[in-house]
Amino acid sequence: MSLVAVLSQPLRQSEAATFLRSSEAERKLVITRYVSAIDVTEFPSDTEFFSWSPSPKPPPSSRMVIGLARLKRWVRGGSGLGVRIDRSVRSAEWRLRYLDRILAVVESRKDSHWDLQNPALVEVLNSEVSDETGTEIAVFDLFDLPAVLSHARDRTSRVVVR
């Protein structure tokens, strides 16, 4: 039995990780846009990760968020100044996440990857998810649901929103 978590945006990755951790499925898969934008350490060690985007790189702002996270760990050294810097960094991270969203919307207008029928995602689902009884595909980003349903049509996989 396979359990597949689909989340193009990584914003609900903690929920996806918790969902997979609580499952006893023989095979656990995560399908996302950029694997590099996901914190794979949150997920069970036997999880397989697949990306549907042709580019393995996260958007520039995501790379900056990763850099800021390193800075944040460094400044949490116990000083009051560290706490203040920490707050500024968190504020910057939120702004960068908004920037990500804006970039995503801009991209959606010129990039078929953000087509709700998302053929790239459907292709990965077709190639990696076996059509066997008991396979469950859990959608963590509602914008992925149209594409996942188009994959699951005429298949035995159960699709759920979680």
Partner: protein
Amino acid sequence: MAGNANIDGHGREVKIQVVTPWYPDRYSAYSGIFVKKQVDALTSLGHDVDVEMPVIYPAPLGDVPDDVYQAMDSLAQIDPSAVFASENGAVKVPAPVPSRSGDLGRAAAYEKSLARKRFWMPIESGITHAHLGIPTGLALLRLGVERLVVTEHQSTLDRVFGQPGATDAYEEVVANSSAFICVSEHLKKQIASKIEPTVAESIEIVPNIVDLADIPFRVRKGGPLNHWLYIGTIASHKGVELLLKAFKAYRETDRSAVLTIVGEGPQRPWVERFAAGSGLSGSLRLVGSVAHQAVGHYLADAGVFVHLSPAETFGIATIEAIGAGLPVVSLRNGGAESAWGEFETSAGRLLPQDADADDVVDAIRYLEDHHSRLDPALGRRLVEERYSPSQVARSLVDIYERIG
């Protein structure tokens, strides 16, 4: 449903539909425990309670495309539980919320998703009890729900009122709901300062439940209060920095002092490094999150409860500590002085908002020197009388009956 249906005093069961964005589930075991306790208390009185839990699914800027809703519908048509999952007694209602929507945008998203959920999984008519004025209360009001009771708990109301249009929308909820409840006088005053005073007059107070079933009462002898306890989120907005600095100052005069912190949070790495840098590591016990049933053990073990959060709507943790017979040092954070009431002097010390580490240490020293002035048995009794599950549930049922 089974149960004692006579306790509402009218011999009939009340059908209650709770709608709350906070409820414990596998993703967040502590979120909305107070709502769950209300549900459990109402159920134990014989009432029929169902729970719907709107869940935010972050979406990109702009309108959510119809294709997303159509996909939800086509899946729900085959298998409603595939879209609206049940967990821990609550049915989850996915609500796609575009980025930067604000709380009014969340309300609109909740409204749309609750309408969709109720189409595929209808509810029985009865009382609807919403938790949070905005977004939940507003969403249900716009859905045309009648016999709507709204409870406000949120500690971030200033942020809500700061959004364009939110004050008018909030006033609309207070004015048009059948009953509007705050968990503390402090919160009521906060709302009353923002909306039309005549509308705010109708706001009622029903406190949060403080369940002492797993919290034993222990009589303490006088002596050094050198085992400090804090239970709560380890975060800057909870005053954790002041807590550590005050403990450091106290420990300079009592090297055997111990601070136990029960809870988790984003500031934990800071706490660990501050402790290491200040030579406190051996005196600091970071327990992490524990089940609520285990909290009584830590309360029984401690000498004083220190809670330095600058803002609380109610402050359940300090009330539980008082119920355990533990002296408490807290800031005047709004919720504390509302909830402690007249047992302020018999339960511990309330400090001004701008108290520093030395003020906290002085308060502990005062409690050590004036132990006989405390009356922990009175504290326990008052907590049981005012905040027990059955007492709070009866207050709610009185309201349901009145509007029913």
